[in-house]
């Protein structure tokens, strides 16, 4: 009703004059929006990386589970590649909970939260599968190693020892035993 009494030009002038008072606030809002958008983009990158990593780890875990009986140590075949993956998963294990905690209130949607949790779970499963894969080979090798029969003979003697102490056990602090005071 009010604006209808003015020409289009006058309406614009009134609007501009009124708006001027809000310019500082507007700039602040725009700046915040810009920051938000930047953060959101970074966040999108993290989400994308998470999604890719989850898929890669899932594939690798399946591969390891299928080949665990193959009896070949990966450290002999693809050492640098697998070492890199293992290092990455270790970092993730520590990084993800912190990241989730910091961003949860701001930008993480329920779906993304599930995505991160999924990565955490597959990371753990991957580490387990990778250890099982490598250890199966290591144990096999160890049991065919030099002096295994003698080791078994000593273990047989240890297995015959009773469970009731016959003599008081003197406790020594481990720090002292390691040469620390």
């Amino acid at each position: 009703m009010f604006y209808e009494d003015f020409t289009e030009h006058e309406q614009a002038m009134v609007f501009a004059t009124r708006s001027q008072a809000f310019v500082p606030q507007l700039e602040q809002v725009l700046q915040e929006q810009r920051k938000y958008r930047e953060k959101k983009e970074k966040h999108r990158e993290v989400v994308e990386i998470t999604r890719n990593l989850t898929m890669t780890l899932r594939r690798l875990t399946e591969y390891l589970k299928d080949n665990v009986v193959r009896g070949i140590s990966w450290t002999q075949t693809d050492a640098p590649f697998f070492d890199m993956i293992i290092e990455a998963t270790c970092l993730l294990r520590n990084f993800l909970p912190v990241y989730l905690e910091k961003t949860a209130s701001l930008y993480v949607t329920h779906h993304e939260k599930k995505l991160f949790k999924g990565l955490q779970e597959i990371t753990l499963e991957f580490v387990k599968a990778s250890l099982e894969y490598d250890d199966a080979y290591q144990v096999e090798r160890f049991q065919k190693g030099r002096g295994y029969t003698e080791v078994q003979a000593v273990l047989a003697k240890i297995a015959r020892i009773g469970s009731e102490p016959k003599k008081a056990i003197k406790l020594v602090s481990l720090e002292q035993a390691l040469g620390f005071n």
């Binding site: 070492d83 293992i86 049991q143 002096g147 273990l155 240890i158 016959k166 035993a177 040469g179």
Partner: protein
């Protein structure tokens, strides 16, 4: 149970290993890494299941301990424990290996050897003999032979 009640005095081979590792690392960090690993191991010396490897989470230290069963013999288990190296910022997979014998009847563990994966990739059974013999004589001295006792 305190750690001192769980881990018995070290054998010479383990002491020598520790001294060697201490030479080019921060000794206190090395000690802390070892004690942290042993504390989780003390909580879970018998991982569930028939798996060769075990991954154990500790709520207290908020960390994982990774270990594998090298030998299982009439309840006795020789473990290979992975331990991190804080001095060189290495995660457990690429850092130290601790070889330990766990005797569940006596609720005791014996540290047999400790080495860095970068120096030595594997260990041969005969390298554990000295530590095992030390464990045998210590157990015989403090617990005695079961069969002799029955007679």
């Amino acid at each position: 149970m305190a750690l001192t009640e769980f881990v018995t005095p070290f054998c010479d081979a383990f002491k020598e290993d520790f001294e060697r590792l201490k030479m080019d690392r921060d000794p206190e960090k090395l000690r802390d890494d070892l004690l942290e690993a042993l504390n989780i191991f003390k909580e879970h010396p018998a991982p569930r299941g028939d798996m060769v490897s075990a991954l154990q989470y500790s709520r207290r230290t908020k960390g994982y301990l990774e270990y594998a069963k090298l030998i299982e013999y009439e309840g006795l288990t020789v473990f290979k424990i992975r331990c991190k190296d804080s001095s060189n910022k290495r995660a457990a997979q690429g850092a130290f290996r601790i070889i330990a014998l766990h005797a569940p009847n006596q609720r005791r563990s014996f540290l047999l050897r400790m080495y860095a994966k970068t120096d030595q990739s594997d260990i041969e059974p005969d390298e554990l003999l000295e530590g095992l013999k030390h464990a045998l004589s210590w157990l015989q001295e403090h617990f005695g032979d079961q069969k002799k006792k029955k007679k």
